[in-house]
Amino acid sequence: MLRYNFIYELRILLRSRWIQLLSLLLLLLFGFSAFNGKEKVEKRKVDIAAAKQEVLDTDQSMLKLLDSVERGMAVSASPWTIPTSPMAVANYYPRVVAMDPQPMAFVSTGQADIFTHYVKPTATGDDFALNFTEMTSPVQLLFGSFDLAFVIVYLLPLLIIAFSYNVLSSEKESGSLRLLASQPISIRKWVFQKLILRFFWLSVLVVTTLVLVILIVGIQPLEWSKVFGLLGLALSYMLFWFSLAFLVNLYVGSSAKNAVSLLGLWVVFVLLVPSVLNQLAGTLYPMPSRTLMINEMRERKVEATKRQDEILDNFLRDHPEYAINDSTQTRSFYHNYMASQKVVKEELAPIVNAYETQLKKQQSWSRQLQWTSPAIVVQESLNNLSGTSTADYENYRRQVIAFSESWREHFMSFLYNNTLFKSEDHTNLPQFQYHALGQSGVPKAILILLAMALVLLGLGFAVQGATRQKGILAD
């Protein structure tokens, strides 16, 4: 039966122009979304490159200024910006701490339109107050980005529904089911084969058009292992929807009812469950107010300013390496400020930690319940694959904080040893290198999706025995 279904299903699909229509639609959808994604990534790259160029330019002017000062020439710059002062370098010549786009970033915008991709931390800035969010059009946030992930997660199931909702009901409605059912074959098996063949042909189209689009749009550098991960996710997600269509075809009835049922399930799995889980995560683990945190920080700073002499004494007691020259040197604003900043940071640690703990709890809760919707599984995995997930931005934020700390520490020794910054110190400035998260979790996601599909297919076949006695056209 499979061989003949295979041959004639393809013939019918070609003659009814389904294959041609689907190919065109997929080419358009994948093409536009991949192009869109690539444009966004290019803009990110251009922004980061411009920021890095700006640093190179300011470094050049800094080195010229240093050279003039070191040769005893008069310079026309404000005294506090002259780079012989280490704190001037630390504050006015920051490095670019950038999150470089990953090779598959064009697939999913993820959190990329909410968070920034580079910051320039200074020695006097506060890590926890660093602004990671970007100004984004609220309209775009409302509708999301038209990227490959959007096409795969939201639109592909709709194409599958249109392609599979009436496999059995159309036979019933056209009258051909009576002839078919009078043959010595199992109608359930026949429906299963028809859907598996449609899944096969759609998979061929999806794989071909996706690979074509990736090559045409010219994604560079291309990591084939990740492209295979993307294809694996798309195919297992498609199998889930075909399995759902199998169940609906067997148990619902007319084409209209099938279509409404499948669209209802699409709303539940793609829109409702993710939204409800998101709302519940926020309700169960509410995030502390950022405004309260900033107010708290200001109050602590005011208090620290009042007792800055005491703080500085304590700081020098804790850092005898800086206190060695204490009796011979004078103290400036920055000596007090940097010491008190450290104290403020330590005092604010519980509040900052509470924020991070709640975020972790929210993420862990969502991760545990992701199996309730295949759309969440795929979206999360595509974000991970693209390096644009919440975890990726959290990873970037941690690296920024660590770099800020090392940047500050680098200049603390200059400051408290009252050493001037020289031209040769420029080459020793800390440099930032972004390290992306290694694991994408794609194989696990594929397994979850396959398990979901198997459960649905199993349900379709398990009830066979119970309904056989009623006769196949009993309803």
Binding site: R178, S182, I185
Partner: protein
Amino acid sequence: MISTKDLTKKFGDLTAVDHLSLSVKEGELLCLLGANGAGKSTTINMLLNFVAPTSGSATINGLDATRHPIKTKEFITYIPENLMLYPMLTAIENLDYFSGITGRQLAQSSLTGFLEEAGLQKDAFHKRISTFSKGMRQKVGIAIALAKDTKVLLLDEPTSGLDPKASNEFGNLLQKLRGKGVAILMATHDLFRAKVVATHIGIMKDGKLVQQFVADDISLPQLEKTYLETMNYKEVLS
């Protein structure tokens, strides 16, 4: 080949088929006559396990049709009132498909041979079914029966809507199949065609087989009179 014993089907309070017992042997053609709702189509549906009987049994070639639906269908070809094939496929492709999915791989020459034997014009073999008349579709149905080497043919109002020529051709095909030993059960309103093609005639009313004759023992006018009397159509008789 076809046998029912006390076959009964109830839909709620309505008894569609009421303790029906009949038998059709090899080479016999039993025509079931009766008004709409008499239970003719329901009987055929039970033989095909489209609906399960409430009680009694239906057997095909000695096998229970309810308990062994797939096995019994190996012997059956069914042609409904409106035989619907795949409109996107040609006649020969439809024949190839319906033979192929049941495990019969036929050569092109065999396929054309069966279509020819069923009386389809040669120029229609490679035309899509969507362009076919009802009579031409019925011929493809007969070709499916021939290709299947069927033992049992179940026909539900096969000649309704056919013009006299097509109806006559269809009758001749049935005689040919009967000659090959096929057991045929045909539900119809067409008394004339029943008299011409059947070996046995039964009249059903309210789910019961109320009259049964050997076709040769009754003339067409007698058959018509008996049918109208059985149906209690007094105004027509007067």
